[in-house]
Symmetry: C2
DNA sequence: GTGAAAGCGCTAACAG
DNA sequence: CTGTTAGCGCTTTCAC
């Protein structure tokens, strides 16, 4: 692989001139520049920009998500990418698979990559260990979707999960759908915590008590069909299931159908995020819609702000509203107006 | 940000010893090692591994896809990641959005990253320009899903698109579903070309001629609803639509429903890739199933092989079989056995 | 406009 | 086991 020296020799100039052709072309005589450029072409010269360790970094943002198989996270990615591109940054996507160990490895790798900054969906509360990697190396970081308790040192963008969950459950209760079984991811995250709090809020409003037995925990990435055997005994006809995300909701839906239980009459399925973006499936009647794309753009904006003002001590947490839609997706849905928390 | 020298000074050793603690710890006296390690901790030392330009590279594979919003590609990503991890490699995902310009930029960025190798879903035939980036820099590369005509220099893993398309169309014809309108991505790719060839093969088998007017081209990422106005005039009741992928199929499905056309009676929708992984939607009756996860693992395997034998002149193209399923997803589908091409 | 010298952070190669 | 020297590919500084 040819180096700057090689090009310089071929063009009959010093390595310095070659360097300048790359970084400050207008300081080089046009004729010389041409000679250098053709030399580069002929030798297939590839600058190893990485070496300029001391100088400018790589203008690139690393986005670390829990599961890039989940459309929710790829929508966030689209948002981040869009803003990044507009500001001349590239973006790389990294998957942790909800696994703290992979998360650790990814962050180490990213740190060595010298990315300009990181936008991060942490696996869960245990991610406070991995947070040290970023904190110690002073990597500008923004959390999305989930917070890490005890680590207030990052900017963050999340949804108003508590209010969203409360609205969902209130709607179910108002429609006399009971009992309500909640299906949550078994990872300990702020998202699950907040949605359970919202559930309790709604129950409390209706003077009902919260029964922990009515919460079923599932694998956050592959909920499988296993679920139904756990859910069924708790949901007689006329009840409802509150799924924490679109993957779980779809799994519940399929499991129900296989068990010959038909939503929405037999059981009403409510969920965060629309599991049916094409509106081709009847049966989902209460959906709390986040705006993952916006979560992406906003977190990228926060990161860019921090890249420009690295020493601003003020950390901000942006809480985006959730909109709740009632009615079959094929009909035009009615929306519920929510008071911000 | 502290450097090796700083750590060395603090620990009272030479920079070399610090370096060794990182790369060959057992060559350093345990006591010294401890001192160095604590010094590192205290100073929050972060090694800039990137600098070792001349020595070992970053053990990481870059996967470049056309649209990470499409589950098909994230399944490929899962496959790649799995194999990469097993061999001690990291993986980064890069999105081109089917845009040759973004593709160009991504590949440049990746090249400077000094990734060990690249697995790449090229945007289309125009990607031959971008291919030069990789070829000139001698980056080990494997193509997935799509080939680039005129660039035989890469290993590749693709599906048997022609046979799959032929099987789909033959099935439709056997069920007397006509006319058949094909909905294809408007990007010029080997995938679309091969699937159209398969369509023609099937028609020829039934002594029918291929009418280019019966092909509708749509945006490969956001097919929108616009489609239906183009499709409708060409598909009277009893006809069929052959969608080139799951995104297009879902769009067609929704458009049909909005126009009060009901699959599968009014129109039969056949497609590559199951647009309904949860089996909750009735109406898709012929589905050509690729194995994106396997495409990922196989391409990663090819890449690893090449990383170990960089000079093997033999390039291989792996063509994976496609399985065609007939019948509603909610019923147990019958499979058709296909002869490999 | 151009070049020579010095140095970025780190690691092979050779002493000791 | 540890340190010295030299050099990776490139850029900054300061000459000319």
């Amino acid at each position: 692989m040819s180096t700057m020296r090689d090009v310089a020799r071929k063009a009959g100039v010093s390595p310095m001139t070659v360097s300048r052709v790359l970084s400050a072309p207008n300081l080089v005589h046009p004729a010389t520049r041409e000679r250098v450029l053709t030399a580069m072409d002929e030798m297939h010269y590839v600058p190893k920009q990485v070496t300029k360790v001391s100088s400018s970094e790589v203008r690139s943002i690393a986005l670390v998500v829990a599961d890039f198989t989940n459309p929710f996270f790829t929508q966030i990615a689209r948002g981040v990418e869009w803003v990044a591109r507009r500001h001349g940054y590239g973006m790389t996507l990294h998957n942790t698979g909800e696994d703290p160990e992979r998360e650790w490895e990814s962050l180490i790798a990213i740190r060595e990559t010298r990315a300009s900054g990181v936008i991060w969906v942490p696996c869960g509360d245990t991610s406070s260990m991995s947070a040290r990697i970023l904190l110690d190396a002073d990597v500008p970081t923004v959390l999305v979707d989930r917070l890490i308790p005890g680590v207030p040192s990052f900017d963050a963008v999340i949804s108003d999960n508590r209010i969203g969950a409360k609205a969902i459950v209130s709607t179910l209760l108002a429609n006399h759908r009971q009992p309500i079984v909640a299906v949550m991811g078994q990872t300990v995250t702020s998202v699950v915590r907040d949605r359970l709090l919202g559930l309790q809020d709604a129950l409390a409003d209706h003077h009902q008590t919260f029964d922990p037995n009515n919460v079923v925990y599932c694998d956050p990435i592959h909920p499988k069909d296993v679920l139904w055997s756990e859910i069924r005994p708790r949901v007689p006809s006329g009840g409802a299931v509150f799924a924490w995300n679109q993957i779980a909701a779809s799994a519940v839906f399929r499991a129900a159908k296989q068990a010959n239980v038909h939503p929405p009459e037999d059981v009403m399925i409510a969920t965060f995020d629309n599991p049916d973006p094409y509106g081709i499936t009847p049966g989902f009647f209460v959906v709390a819609q986040q705006d993952p794309y916006k979560m992406g753009t906003e977190s990228a904006n926060l990161l860019l702000r921090r890249l420009n003002q690295p020493n601003d001590p003020l950390k901000s947490t942006l809480i985006l509203p959730v909109s709740v839609h009632v009615g079959s997706q094929s009909e035009s849905p009615r929306s519920i107006v929510l008071e911000p928390s």
